[in-house]
Amino acid sequence: MSAASPTGFVSDWDQDGLDTDEMVVNMGPQHPATHGVLRVELRTDGEVVRAARPHIGYLHRCFEKHCENVDYPGVMPYADRMDYCAAMGNTLGFALTVEKLCGIEVSPYVQTVRVIMAELQRIASHTIAVGTYTMDIGAFTPFLHLIRDREKILDLFEWTCGARLLYNYNWVGGVSHDLPDGFIRATRDFLREFETVTFPELLDLIIHNRIFVRRLSHVGVCSPELAISYDLTGPNLRGSGIARDLRKDFPYSGYESYDFDVCVGTGQYGPKGSCFERNWVRVVEMRESAKILHQALDRLEKTEKADVHEKVPKRVKPPKGEIYFRSEAPRGQLGYYLVSDGNINPYRVKVKSPCFTAMSVFHHLAKGMLIADVIALIGSLDIVLGEIDR
């Protein structure tokens, strides 16, 4: 086999010259710790990984092609299914993209509702990310503690729109259902429990655990330069110490009026950009999301209730043109490139997926690691294969 492989980047991958003491291991697509149907081809020398090549595409569902054949509201359920751990973020991005193209301006009430949903979803998504990460490292208990709180968020979602995983909640020009009566108080109850119980417990139980820190604090260090050159976004980028958050830098949906901090890796236990730092950013982001939620709930009480379907057009028919819009999904910058030819269905939809770019740095960081660290690296990049493959 020649060095020039279809994927191009693995010039050091030469199976003809495979030494007898090296072994090729297929990790995945059915493996408990690859977070979905990711296949990683590892060339191992004992426990040390000499080279790692990720293979993606096992969950490819033709999202972008599907979009060309349905109308704009019809894209929403498909967008839900990209990053199934954070469906609200996906649909919010798409709704904002189409609204920008159509020139629709939603009411402040709807904006606040959207922010509440997006931030609840961010907490839910990060509980999954952090929880499964601790499980990758071998601790099972924090995962279940976090899942317990995620269930409460899903209860809130179900109460609002009837779905627990894929909501079809954000519509072009509004949201599908208004918040039910009592939602604000129920959310406050949840936040109180999350902030007073689960979050401190999480920090005590696992995040500052000595074994956990020692496992991760010097592993998979991604320098800021490397992170930028591979286009890491979201918590992965912020873990390297770069304070880049679209909610702050290019605010949308009224994020500019909320007071919150952009969490970055602090380098408290080791170099910035390590697996620990990426995970740490997710942990503290949950707290920041709770902060935003408190403000949004206060605002919701003061804002006059508006019809959430007020601006929803009967037929979404954007003018001819193209647009690129990105928003800060829980896993990073989610960008939609949309071409409209003036019809009711998009001419072309292209998604810039944060997990896909996160995966691209994997082979670089995985080289020379131990097998256990490869698992830690995959988990710390927090990939969702539904979004990588689309």
């Binding site: 279940l144 696992i206 496992r215 256990a372 660290d373």
Partner: protein, 410 residues
């Protein structure tokens, strides 16, 4: 043997007239049968306990469906595993593949031969008891490597190699620490070691040479965690890294045998640690050694072993897994120096007549301090439990009355 003979004659006076071959057969087979039954059925209870402990720690109930409080869950699981097909992948080495779980079980079961459950309740009192336990328990490593190799699976091989490296490394500090109680007592027999601790709590080896023996006990416990492949040292079967490690390819009853061996090893290790440091079958106070006509030795050893097993479960559901290199670091750079220092220290102190039976303050400091610590920990646990319940009540009824019932369509 003699004890078994006496029991036999006590039960069946006619046995005194039996031919000698029959007597030999019976007194050999009976303890073996008893031990084997105890060991085979033990994992049912251990697994149930483990799942309940895990549920307790993870804010859930654990098994609740099969039988009252899920008591029959493990029985149902065993029946399922017994009747499931044992799949042999095409390229496995069938002979070794079958032999491996047997060897692992031999390594797990055989140490029972020398564990004393009472002054005369011991299948065989070998004069090299501790040595025998370490030697025979290492057999299961061979079984694990064999399983990894015969499976013809890369993950299994990884698991096997990790297991070999781990157990071989941890055997060394483990054996050195075992030397400490052996030096104190001057015998390798587990019965002798137990009886040297007679007279109540203050005579347990754990409380001799106050700061030294507790350290030895903790180190021994850590090596035990590593040798039984328990978290945080469960890297040979690290599920998130190696799928299931060395038993990836096993199914049905062969898998159940590995499972059985793992839990039996846990119990054996706990029992041996109890014998070496916690007085074995001896009660904390001599008055508790016998309740009426019933000798309670078996209960005390069982109780001590279970307490240690609970700690092992506790650790498993609390701690993350350590990495291979960190594991080796702990073995070679932390435990081994400590073990060497302990051996030299205790070896020297035993030679000085004034300290041959411990420091003078042991009697007054060590075990009251330990009791205080245990009491404190119990209190903390009880308070945590009560706090949990109070918190649940408080959260269920927030200030300003309960939140309106959510209308969730199910």
């Amino acid at each position: 043997m003699d004890a078994t003979y006496d029991y036999l004659v006590w039960l069946f006076p006619a046995a005194a007239q039996w031919p000698s071959w029959l007597v030999t057969l019976v007194i050999t087979a009976l303890p073996a049968l008893a031990c084997f039954t105890f060991m085979s059925l033990g994992p049912l209870v251990y697994v149930y306990a483990e799942r309940k402990v895990a549920g307790f720690m993870q804010d859930r109930l654990g098994p609740m469906r099969v039988g009252p409080y899920g008591l029959l869950q493990t029985v149902a699981d065993t029946v399922k595993l017994l009747f499931k097909e044992a799949i042999f992948p095409r390229k496995v080495d069938r002979k070794l593949f079958v032999l491996a779980p047997i060897l692992v079980n031999v390594g797990a079961f055989m140490p029972f031969v020398v564990i004393p459950w009472g002054a005369r309740l011991q299948p065989a009192d070998l004069n090299v008891g501790v040595f025998y336990v370490s030697a025979i328990a290492a057999l299961s490593t061979v079984g694990i490597i064999m399983a990894g190799w015969a499976s013809n699976n890369k993950y299994a091989l990884f698991g096997a190699m990790r297991s070999a490296a781990q157990i071989v490394s941890y055997e060394i500090p483990s054996l050195l620490i075992i030397l400490v109680p052996v030096m104190l007592v001057g015998s390798l027999s587990l019965l002798d070691i137990t009886q040297a601790q007679a007279g109540g709590l203050q005579n347990w080896l754990l409380f001799r040479y106050f700061p030294i023996m507790p350290v030895a006990f903790v180190c021994f416990f850590v090596t035990g965690l590593a040798e039984t492949n328990r978290a945080p040292f469960d890297i040979p079967e690290a599920e998130s890294e190696l799928v299931a490690g060395f038993h990836t390819e096993y199914s049905g009853f062969f898998f159940a045998m590995f499972f059985m061996a793992e839990y039996t090893e846990m119990f054996v290790f706990s029992a041996v640690a109890a014998v070496l440091f916690l007085g074995g079958y001896l009660a904390p106070h001599p008055a508790l050694q016998q309740v009426g006509p019933v000798a309670m030795g078996w209960f005390w050893l069982w109780f001590k072993a279970w307490s240690l097993m609970f700690v092992m479960m506790w650790l498993r559901w609390t701690l993350p897994r350590s990495r291979v290199d960190q594991l080796m670091y702990i073995a070679w750079k932390v435990l081994l120096p400590i073990a060497l220092v302990l051996v030299v220290l205790v070896g020297g102190l035993v030679l000085i007549p004034a300290t041959a039976n411990g420091f003078p303050w042991d009697r007054y400091v060590a075990w009251p301090l330990t009791l205080l610590l245990v009491g404190f920990l119990t209190l903390v646990m009880i308070r945590a439990l009560r706090w949990d319940k109070g918190r649940a009540r408080e959260l269920a009824l927030p200030a300003g009355g309960a939140a309106p019932a959510r209308q969730v369509a199910r």
